[in-house]
Symmetry: C2
Subunit: 210 residues, 2 copies
DNA sequence: GTGTGTGAAGTGGTTCACAGCG
DNA sequence: CGCTGTGAACCACTTCACACAC
């Protein structure tokens, strides 16, 4: 069955919450309680969880450990994904140092940058290569996922060269531009300036109301 | 009229594209062409643009300069927003150095961190204060928008203290946790690890298909 | 009684299809 | 004739409401 994107996003959040509840020793949790913690409707939580079979107990709630492990299974990876990070500037190094990538599902195997002063250096234990060698190294090291943190002017040409390697299956794009890829390469984009602009737009709208 | 969130996001992207086309000297553009550049359907582009009156010419397309200035107007701010950034770690400093905040709609006025070794120092021309002084300084400097780039364990208490100042109208949250705020404080969240997990989930699904 | 699971209804956003204007 | 503007159809996701299991 196809699981909708918003549902997957919420599953990740349930997973996080349950991990915490589990650590705290809580045994049982209701859809109501999950909803309040994460600002979702209880009915939404139940619907999301029901996609994967009857996991809760009527009149009781969900068993924290069981549900945690269940969602863990749903989100689990067949193996550790090898990641490449292109662009070791401010944002790229932030991502490197950031918790999001210190995760047992992924492993950063290589860095790439066009700045020759960075090439050959090691950042957070990972070596930086020149961007021109990206396709070659991605193939050699069996890298399947690429995080793109380069300026918009460089984004598309980076994409073209790594896609040409034929090894890349997914791209997490942080460049403020929409990139084009063959249909078999999945792309998720995080556009920070769009998010900021959206917030500012609605702030302005709020102000106009008054 | 209420403009839907996805529409606002696309407007920001139209704006960027038109700026480029305008610089390049292109005079006219069709919904078709905009759609191809940004990977949206032409009908979607036309619907989005039609919310703001008849701005295109039938049989011709949209006048680049006119449309650019029109969208500029829609997205314009009543004034420069003053921003505070909480959390001058990897991600926070990346955001500081990053282009998204070098924008004539916003101005970073203050930084906050709980690390005493950072307090009193200046980063990218902006002084860092202790987080405990945040509410006070936010009021004093009339800061209305706060960017939150702290670990999830600290997020909610930061939110509570800055919201208590009564001056904050919007929060751009980068912490991997959902925060609760009074209804009159707008929140936009960018959850990098959720985005990564979503990508990995769909990569796994793709693999299962084969 | 309590809280889940779920069909059905509702809501919001996208896409179609074509009338209408340049 | 070409491309926009737009009501209507469509689709996807959310919420409701209640039967059902504990």
């Amino acid at each position: 069955m196809k699981i909708a994107e918003p549902t997957v996003g919420r599953l990740v959040q349930y997973h996080r919450l349950l991990e915490r509840l589990y650590m705290e020793g809580q045994k049982v949790v209701s859809s109501q309680e999950i909803g309040e913690s994460l600002a979702f409707k209880a009915s939404q939580v139940r619907k999301d969880l029901s996609y994967f079979g009857e996991i809760g107990k009527r009149g009781v709630g969900y068993h924290v450990e069981k549900l945690y492990k269940h969602i863990n299974e749903i989100l689990s990876s067949p193996r550790k994904w090898k990641l490449g990070l292109i662009g070791v500037g401010h944002l790229g190094s932030a991502l490197l140092g950031y918790g999001a990538l210190r995760n047992d599902k992924v492993e950063i195997s290589a860095l790439f940058d066009n700045d020759k002063s960075k090439v050959g250096k090691v950042f957070f234990g990972v070596e930086c290569h020149h961007i021109d060698d990206a396709a070659k190294i991605i193939c050699r090291d069996r890298i399947e996922v690429v995080i793109l943190a380069v300026p918009s002017s460089a984004a598309q040409s980076c994409v073209d060269s790594i896609v040409s390697s034929g090894c890349v299956k997914g791209i997490l794009n942080f460049s403020p531009i929409s990139i084009v890829t063959p249909a078999d390469v999945l792309v998720t984009s995080v556009d920070i300036s769009v998010e900021l602009e959206k917030l500012l737009f609605y702030l302005k709208e709020e102000e106009k109301k008054k």
